[in-house]
């Protein structure tokens, strides 16, 4: 077990390092941030001085070694654009992304599970087929298009919900969250729905498959024979049994929801990490991009690690393979 864990951690560190090298040199290849950041009125001399201030006059390998040296001391550098520590900046944007992902997750469960269970129950009838066909749209419609459509319908035409941005926030242990304020929640509904659409389709399909499988099990037959109502069978007995695979998948999907909400955040001008990433890429703000992606890698590594550990506890066979191979 310990050997397995250590191996996983070593692999993860290697992944993080490889990512750091690729991103660092990749952004260097794109261009020089000073070319974009500096006022066009600046004289050639001022441009040189600014380059020197940021260390861009050094050869790339020196810049990289400096960066690695600082990173080893826990300093991922300061944003070229904002003059703030990259990590502070990301942490500033993080709560908005986390709460949006959380609401998206809740929506996808609330939409996906009832639909999926119902579709599984009526698998061979038109209702079941309609839901399954509908879920294909959920998979295939592009995020930005769905987002714009929701804005058009609910914000522009009906004016029920605000179109873009973040609403009022309340302080929860020093973190500003909008999910607990009524006004703030209104602003979250459309982006969370957009984010939830894909996951909801996924949950629908998982729930349907699980339900179909469960309905032929002995315990369902027994419950029916006992005279338990169909609703209770479906939403108590069956649901309990199909939740395990759904939760596993959703746990993994949460990672991608946090890290890749970029499109949704851009469409809704949602001040989350994804928008920070896009803005940083456009201005070649290297410290922020590198720190962001390292953080993303970290999130995935931690989630995968947790899943792996849970599996080794649930399934002894994994432990044996890990220890031997």
């Amino acid at each position: 077990m310990l050997v397995y864990l250590l191996r996983r951690i070593a692999q993860s560190i290697f992944v993080a390092l490889a990512m750091m090298v690729i991103v660092f040199f990749g952004i260097y290849m794109i261009g020089n941030p000073v070319d974009i950041l500096i006022s066009p009125d600046a004289t050639p001399r001022e441009i040189e001085e600014t380059m020197a201030r940021f260390g861009f006059d050094q050869p790339i390998y020196i810049q990289f070694l400096t960066f690695v040296g600082n990173a080893l001391q826990g300093d991922l550098g300061r944003s070229f654009v904002h003059g703030e520590s990259a990590v502070t900046l990301i942490l500033h944007y993080m709560p908005a992304t986390l709460e949006l992902a959380a609401l998206g997750l809740i929506f996808s469960v609330l939409i996906g599970i009832p639909l999926g269970v119902y579709a599984g129950y009526k698998a061979d009838r038109w209702q079941g087929r309609a839901i399954m066909t509908g879920s294909i749209f959920g998979f295939s419609l592009p995020n930005f298009w769905v987002g714009m459509l929701l804005i058009l319908i609910f914000a522009v035409e009906l004016r029920w919900l605000p179109s873009t941005g973040r609403g009022d926030t309340v302080d929860v242990f020093g973190i500003r969250l909008s999910i607990f304020s009524e006004n703030g929640l209104q602003y979250m509904i459309l982006p969370a729905l957009t984010l939830a659409l894909y996951k909801a389709s996924l949950v629908t399909r998982l729930a349907r498959a699980g339900t179909q499988e469960a309905l032929v099990q002995d315990y369902v037959k027994f419950a029916r024979a006992k005279g338990v109502s169909e609703t209770r069978i479906l939403f108590v007995h069956v649901l309990k049994n199909i939740m395990i695979p759904i939760l596993t998948v959703l746990g993994l999907e949460l990672g991608s929801m946090i890290a890749f909400a970029v499109v949704t955040e851009t469409v809704f001008a949602w001040p989350g990490m994804g928008k920070l990433l896009i803005d940083s890429i456009l201005t070649l703000d290297r410290p922020v991009i590198v720190a962001y992606l390292m953080m993303t890698v970290l999130i995935f590594i931690v989630i995968n690690l947790v899943v792996d550990i849970v599996y080794t506890i649930l399934d002894p066979r994994v432990r044996v393979t890990g220890g031997a191979g």
Binding site: D41, M148, T283
Partner: protein, 539 residues
């Protein structure tokens, strides 16, 4: 049936909104670009400079036409060739209650060169200052090393912060251009958090939240006309579609830079309107005057045809600028004959410098005369996300050049890549834009046409490496001529010389659109800034 019901509800909600009196004094703006800091001296770039003008003022103001007007100084005049005297406005207070005087100006200039982590310092506009003299707190005398007529213009570009509010006794400052000794300065972060955001402007900063928005409230003690808005909230809506949608949805009252293709729809929608005006930004083509062979030219046996003035003229008159303005820019642009729109300082009177007349036949004849009867191959470098319809304009030029036998391709890339490649001289011809920050002709001539020279700060963006001693001399003379009329004539002449040599090919001036509800109005600014204090409610 249901839909109709929904429409009715929506209508009811929509009509109920304007009835609320509390909203009347609030203004909500959708910004096209987000400022990187609330610190007035942190980053010398458009969005920051625009935000700065709400809270921090300058000695000299700059109006919609970029004409100078008295702001915190009531008058200014040159005492002799190297000294300017500014008389300051009495009775102005900073938002913490401290009185404004000449020492605050000195203190601000002291802070500018040393702002930590600044990506672009304001030293560009303060480097001419050699020394200050404060005969009395309401008089400021500025020393320059050489005659410097642009001093008042440059004094309009940076904001003034308070010495007292930051615990500095102004009279004790020992000014030198290299630094003013150990003075206490506020950190950039303190401006964003609001503690240091102490200015004299029409608004006070209530909050600055990255990504989310900026809240301003009216400065109750403002020395000038009170701003028409009690509260202004500005949200960064950097994508075009969502920004327009927010206006349609009624979530904002005013947006910057609506995309050209939406202008008609906005105007045809009841309750919304577009206001537009010419900007100081010229879109131009710059050509490689130096490298031989030039990197993106083919079919000339290694020769650089752009060194021949006849080829440059041919390329210019082969472009139908009116067609570009009409078809690509939807009429929302003005064809250009020089680098600054008519009416601005140093530009010619309207009609005196018309755009190069379109004449494909003559262009072909000129090419033949220059020894390229069969044309040659060339690639235009252009950004595709920096200027309005930039890549499409380059595409149109390519087709027009193809008509006179110059086979033209387009290399369109994102701005961050484009500027780095351009600055590495990778393009033989490139499309770019120049906004005249100072609002007069020396800005584009100095940056785009004058010979590259680090010591004099000439040719900073002259990536075609054009060099013409005549232009350089005229510019140098103009920059040392304090008399306005004489300087204007010198600048005009430098522009004429450069245009006659086809040094650079101006295409058009961008027209800046703003979209808003019909309850408010805005006078377009050539510097493209959105200043809430100038957004007026319609009576």
């Amino acid at each position: 049936m249901t839909l109709r019901y929904l429409r009715l509800t929506a209508l009811a909600v929509a009509t109920a909104l304007p009835a609320l009196p509390a909203l009347a004094q609030d203004l909500r703006i959708g910004l096209a670009a987000e400022p990187s800091s609330a610190d007035p001296h942190f980053h010398n770039l458009g969005p920051n400079n625009q935000l700065r003008r709400n809270m921090f003022e300058s000695l000299v103001g700059s109006d919609e036409q970029q004409k100078l007007f008295p702001q915190l100084a009531t008058s200014w005049r040159p005492l002799d060739d190297t000294r300017w005297e500014f008389k300051l406005r009495e009775g102005v207070t900073f938002s913490d209650g401290s009185a404004f005087d000449a020492y605050d100006v000195v203190y601000s200039v002291c802070r500018i060169p040393g702002v930590p982590d600044s990506p672009s310092l304001f030293t560009t506009y303060t480097k001419a200052i050699k020394d200050f003299e404060v005969p009395d707190p309401m008089t400021l005398i500025v020393h320059t090393a050489a005659p410097y007529p642009l001093l008042p213009t440059e004094f309009s570009t940076w904001g003034i912060i308070s010495a007292k509010a930051n615990g500095v006794d102004g009279a004790s400052i020992d000014f030198s251009p290299e630094g003013c000794g150990d003075l206490a300065y506020p950190e950039s972060q303190a401006f964003n958090e609001g503690a240091a955001a102490i200015g004299t402007g029409p608004f006070l900063l209530e909050s600055f939240r990255r990504g989310e928005g900026i809240e301003l409230v009216r400065n109750p003690d403002y020395w000038g006309d009170a701003a028409p808005w009690e509260r202004v909230s500005m949200k960064p809506l950097t994508s075009d579609g969502p920004r327009v949608a927010a206006l349609f949805a009624g979530d904002v009252d005013f947006i910057e830079n609506p995309p050209l293709q939406d202008l008609e729809r906005i105007n045809s929608e009841g309750g919304l309107q577009v206001v537009q005006g010419i900007s100081n930004r010229v879109i131009y083509l710059h050509m490689d005057h130096e490298q031989e062979p030039s990197p993106m030219i083919t079919g000339t046996d290694g020769k650089n045809p752009l060194k021949d003035v006849r080829v440059r003229e041919a390329l210019s008159i082969a472009i139908n600028r009116d067609a570009i303005v009409d078809r690509i820019m939807g009429g929302v642009a003005v064809a250009a004959g020089e680098l600054l729109p008519a009416g601005m300082f140093g530009a010619h009177e309207d009609g005196a410098m018309p755009p190069a007349p379109y004449d494909a036949d003559r262009a072909q004849a000129l090419l033949a005369e220059a020894g390229y009867p069969d044309g040659f191959g060339i690639t235009i470098g252009t950004p595709n996300d920096r200027y309005i319809n930039d890549a499409q304009v380059a595409q149109a030029v390519a087709q027009m050049w193809a008509r006179i036998g110059v086979t033209t391709e387009i290399d369109a890339v994102t701005a961050s890549t484009f500027f780095s490649r351009r600055n590495a001289y990778e393009f033989s011809v490139y499309l770019a834009g120049w906004g005249a920050g100072t609002g007069e002709m020396s800005s584009p001539i100095k940056a785009l046409v004058a010979t590259r020279d680090g010591d004099r700060g000439y040719g900073g963006t002259n990536r075609g490496q054009y060099s013409n001693p005549e232009v350089d001399d005229l510019l140098t003379k103009a920059l040392a001529t304090v008399d306005d009329d004489a300087r204007q004539e010198l600048l005009r002449e430098s522009s004429r010389v450069a245009m006659a040599d086809w040094a650079i090919l101006p295409l058009h001036f961008e027209v800046t659109p703003w979209a808003m509800t019909d309850k408010i109005t805005y006078a377009p600014r050539v510097d493209q800034y959105t200043l809430p204090a100038s957004i007026k409610p319609v009576q």
